[in-house]
Each structure stands twice: as structure tokens, then as C-alpha cells.
């Protein structure tokens, strides 16, 4: 049973009570990191107050409670993305970036060799580009890019040609710059038809729409806790059990071993093989609370809410600024999410963001860790406003009013 009440969601987020430069905070930087509801903050706080102990080690009561909480979070995440093999397929990392490094440096290093192709897209975050370049230095793989159309969509017109020699198609579910949503299910079918696997960067998409790895027919999914109302310091790497079981360990140390002798070591089985050292336990507890919170809202309600807000914002930006503020991304809401990149004519994004800051408006100026995409559209940077479950039309009101000041000031 889900229940989505935008007012109640806002009331659950303490940081929305902040006042910045005499203005109530207008938080439009969810694509960078989301705000946390009390449910998440309290769960982590309660954990530290009552149950903190290291996991998978001691036999005392709080230690087994901590272990149960940590492993319980794995189950919640598995349920959230419908992992067919359950919690045993969910590896906790530090963030989505580390998850991609795990993919490249464990699965990639073992399964890819000179001449093999990893196909990514021009709209990827650096996290889904640089690890492949690093692997290329060691193995001689080819990193190939799917281009972007002039209207900010993935250009799939030559996809079958691009798929030649591809072992892995690694692609974002939703661009963190353009807001474009990629046809992941169709891409999975194409990849599998060519005998390749598909990895999806869910850093943006998982937090803003339902994600079902079985229905989408994915092989790998990567995402992070702090963009989905959870804490920083915890990310997720999911793959099917048979792939995970065949992957060599990533980081070495305690926790990831079955045995260590003077002549070598034997790695542990399952997800723990990839979780060297004391893991982010409190963060896992927070992520579990975030998953429960989002399940309570219902992801279909979340996507509907954000879709409506972004659609309204696109319309009003055009009405208000007549092209003086250009949207760098699809202009309508077809296959698009609540990430809106803006180019304000004649005003540098840092100056726009600085003016907006004086109105308590939090947006992100910059290249958004997607420099190849920025170059594609001849931009050094954009100003990005992004919506979350707690956003409302008042946020857009303030954004537009503050943008008006920036335009006037530098006009």
C-alpha cells in the first residue's frame, strides 16, 4: 500500500526548514545528492545509539543485531530492484563510481581482452567512462561511444553497426545532464542479440522510477544511496548470481576472505568477496530506511510527481524567458526525467548559480562530470536544476524569479 502526499514528504525532510540568506531553502540539486527524510536520519542515529558493532565477526548480542541490520539492508535493496537471486546478488560499495570500478576491474579484467569492445554513450558520467579507459590501458580493449542526437537523445540509428565486437554495453538509465531517459529494455535486447551483456548506470534512474532488473533483462546495475534519499558512503553493485560467482575479488583485505595462509588466500563466496574491510554499516541501515520510505511513497507515484513538476518547469521557462534561457535536454516530457540543464544566454553558469544562491536556490553549475557530452554541445558548463520526491511548484516559482534576476543583472 503506497501513499504519496507531497506536503507530507516535504514535512519529513528537516533540511527543507533551512533558511539561506533570509530565504527558505529551494533545493533543486537532487541529481547531485538528495536530501534525507527523518526516517533515514533517525534509523542511522538509532543504530549508532543502540546497536553499533562490527558485522560478521563477534558473537555478542549487538554484533548479531548489527549483522542482521546490514544483511537486512541487502535484502531490502534486492527487493527494491527485484533481484532474481535475492540478497546474494547485491554488493555494497562506496558509491556508484566504485561500483563501476568493481565492474571494470573485476568482471572486465577477467572477461575482456585486446580487441573486445565496451560500448558506452556520449552522455555517460565520467564514472562510466574513465574505468573503461583505465582498463584499456591494461588490456587493449576498445571503448566505443554511441552518439547523441541534436535533440539530446541517444542516437540508436547505427546501433547494430556499433555493436560489432561489443562484449559489454554500459549505459546510463537517465542522463544526469540532459534528463533523457534511455530505452534500457530495448538496449538490453539488442545487446543480448549480439551476444553482449548490458550494464546500466542507475545513479539517476533508480531514485526516480521503478527499476526491475528482471523485466528490463539487465546483467549489471549500478547505483548509489545518497541520490535516493539515503546516506552518502554506500553504493550498490548488482549482477546475476552466476556472473557474480565467477567474478574475481576486487579489493583485498579482511572480510572478503574464506582463509588466509602464509602462502596465499582463498576468497569468500557471495557479495562479501567484494566487501573488503569494515563495510558502511550505518549507511546500509540508512539505505534500508530510504528503500522503505520510497516503497511507502511508491516509485510510480514518485515518477508521476517529478514528471509533472519538470513538465510544468519546461513550459514556464519557455513562457518566461522566450529562449533566453535554453534547456539543454529534451524540450518535452517524452522519455525524460526531472533533471533540467539550462544555458542562460550571455551569463556564465557560475554567475547564474551565484545569483540563485542569494535566493536560497541550490542548483549545480558545471560540467556535471560529463565533459564529452559538454563538448558535444559546445558548452563548458550548464546550470542544472533537478527535482526530487519532496520538490514542489514553489521551487519552480523561486527558480524562475531568481533566474529573472540573473538575466537582468548581466543583461
Amino acid at each position: 500500500m503506497t501513499s504519496f502526499n507531497a506536503k507530507r514528504v516535504r514535512a519529513d525532510i528537516p533540511q527543507l526548514n533551512r533558511v539561506v540568506f533570509d530565504h527558505p531553502i529551494t533545493y533543486l540539486d537532487t541529481a547531485s545528492t538528495s536530501l534525507q527524510p527523518n526516517a533515514v536520519i533517525d534509523a542511522m542515529s538509532r543504530y549508532y545509539q543502540l546497536r553499533h558493532a562490527n558485522v560478521h565477526r563477534a558473537v555478542y548480542q549487538t554484533a548479531s543485531e548489527a549483522t542482521a541490520a546490514y544483511e537486512g539492508s541487502r535484502e531490502a535493496v534486492a527487493r527494491f530492484i527485484n533481484a532474481p537471486g535475492g540478497a546474494g546478488e547485491v554488493v555494497f560499495t562506496k558509491n556508484a563510481t566504485e561500483s563501476f570500478n568493481l565492474l571494470a576491474k573485476s568482471w572486465g579484467a577477467k572477461n575482456l581482452s585486446a580487441g573486445d569492445v565496451v560500448l558506452v554513450s556520449e552522455m555517460e558520467h565520467h564514472a562510466n567512462i574513465v574505468p573503461w579507459f583505465q582498463l584499456r590501458e591494461h588490456t587493449g580493449i576498445e571503448v566505443r561511444f554511441i552518439p547523441t542526437t541534436d535533440d539530446y537523445r541517444l542516437d540508436t540509428s547505427r546501433l547494430d553497426e556499433l555493436m560489432q565486437g561489443v562484449k559489454l554495453l554500459s549505459i546510463t538509465g537517465m542522463s544526469n545532464v540532459l534528463g533523457s531517459i534511455n530505452p534500457v529494455r530495448e538496449l538490453a535486447a539488442v545487446a543480448h542479440r549480439h551476444g553482449a551483456l548490458i550494464a546500466v548506470d542507475g545513479a539517476q534512474s533508480v531514485a526516480h522510477a521503478p527499476t526491475d532488473v528482471v523485466a528490463l533483462d539487465l546483467d549489471f546495475l549500478v547505483f548509489t544511496g545518497h541520490k535516493m534519499l539515503g546516506p552518502t558512503g554506500i553504493g550498490v553493485f548488482w549482477t546475476r548470481e552466476e556472473i557474480l560467482d565467477a567474478m574475481p575479488p576486487f579489493l583485498g583485505g579482511g572480510g572478503m576472505i574464506a582463509d588466509v595462509r602464509l602462502d596465499g588466500y582463498t576468497p569468500a563466496d557471495g557479495p562479501t568477496r567484494f566487501e573488503a574491510g569494515t563495510p558502511p554499516i550505518a549507511e546500509a541501515v540508512g539505505l534500508n530506511a530510504a528503500v522503505l520510505y520510497l516503497e511507502g511513497l511508491g516509485m510510480t507515484n514518485v515518477v508521476r510527481h517529478e514528471h509533472a513538476l519538470a513538465g510544468d518547469a519546461l513550459t514556464r521557462l519557455e513562457l518566461e524567458f522566450h529562449g533566453r534561457v535554453r534547456v539543454i535536454g529534451p524540450g518535452d516530457m517524452t522519455e525524460r526525467g526531472g533533471v533540467i540543464s539550462l544555458d542562460v544566454e550571455g551569463v556564465h553558469p557560475h554567475d547564474v548559480a551565484q545569483v540563485l544562491d542569494q535566493f536560497g536556490v541550490c542548483v549545480r553549475p558545471g560540467h556535471h562530470c560529463a565533459k564529452p557530452l559538454m563538448r558535444r554541445f559546445g558548452l563548458a558548463a550548464t546550470v542544472r536544476a533537478s527535482y526530487g520526491p519532496y520538490s514542489n511548484t514553489k521551487d519552480t516559482d523561486v527558480l524562475i524569479e531568481a533566474l529573472g534576476h540573473a538575466v537582468k543583472m548581466f543583461g
Binding site: D351, Q354, Q358, A380
Partner: protein
């Protein structure tokens, strides 16, 4: 909402906006003989190329091309106006004063705002950049062209 706030007015002084809209000493010099130095801010993508024509210990001419935010570009323009035609000793003194403006005030802010120790009158128009100090993340914008200038002068030694 009409009040933009005094902090913002401090940052975007009219002089700064003027130099941003109408940058002085834009352009290139043939290099060589002119010294060519690049400045680049990988974080925000701001860039500047500074050309220095130095003869007999005098900065005879300075030209710049680049793109970036109003602070980086106006600071570059203000810098070029302040140092053009000056002896290298005067240029170095101006750089020292500007760097002091960017650092002294930062430390005074941290210590409950004692009076700044920089002679703002000696800085002339450059004093318009003092508001930057209230926005620490923008200091690197303001110093971009200056660091390029320093690099160019260092290359002389």
C-alpha cells in the same frame, strides 16, 4: 525577492560588470616575440591565454583571450589595465597587493573581521574585486589570470 542582498552587490560591483561586458586588452600578440601563458580551471572550465610583450624591463603590452565567468574574465581585464605599461617591478608589486587582497581578507574574515590591512586606494579599480573574498569558491576565478601572469614573469628568470 527584489533585494539582491548586499553580499551579491559586493561581488558584482558595477566596475566588474563593466569589465565583463567590455573587457579591456582583448586579443592576441604574435608569439614569439610575445610570451604566451595559458591558465585553466579544470573544475569549471574557465580558461585564459595571456600574451605579454616585455621590453627593457617594461610590460609594453598585454593581451588576453579566454572564456569564463564574470569574475575570472573581469579580473583578467582589470589586471591588464592595472599592469599595462608598467615596469616589471611595478607589475610584481601590483600582483603582490592583489594576492594580499585575496588572502589577507580571507584570514580577517576568519578572525571576526578586523580591518583589512590592504591599502585599497593603492589598488585603484582592482579594489572592486575585494567582494570576491566573501565567496571563497570564487577566489580561484579571480586569481586565474593573475596566476598566468605570474607564470609568464617567472619564465623570464
Amino acid at each position: 525577492m527584489s533585494d539582491l542582498g548586499s553580499n551579491l552587490d559586493d561581488l558584482y560591483r558595477e566596475i566588474i560588470l563593466d569589465h565583463y561586458r567590455s573587457p579591456r586588452n582583448r586579443g592576441e600578440l604574435e608569439s614569439p616575440p610575445a610570451i604566451r601563458v595559458e591558465g585553466f580551471n579544470p573544475l569549471c572550465g574557465d580558461e585564459i591565454v595571456v600574451y605579454l610583450d616585455i621590453e627593457d624591463g617594461i610590460l609594453k603590452n598585454i593581451k588576453m583571450v579566454g572564456s569564463g565567468c564574470s569574475i575570472s574574465q573581469s579580473s583578467a581585464s582589470l589586471m591588464s589595465s592595472a599592469v599595462k605599461g608598467k615596469t616589471l617591478d611595478q607589475v610584481r608589486a601590483t600582483i603582490a597587493m592583489f594576492k594580499q587582497l585575496m588572502t589577507v581578507q580571507e584570514s580577517t574574515l576568519a578572525h571576526d573581521g578586523e580591518a583589512p590591512k590592504v591599502d585599497l586606494r593603492a589598488l585603484g579599480e582592482l579594489a572592486a574585486l575585494q567582494g570576491v573574498i566573501k565567496f571563497p569558491v570564487r577566489i580561484k576565478c579571480a586569481t586565474l589570470a593573475w596566476n598566468a601572469l605570474v607564470e609568464g614573469l617567472d619564465g623570464l628568470d
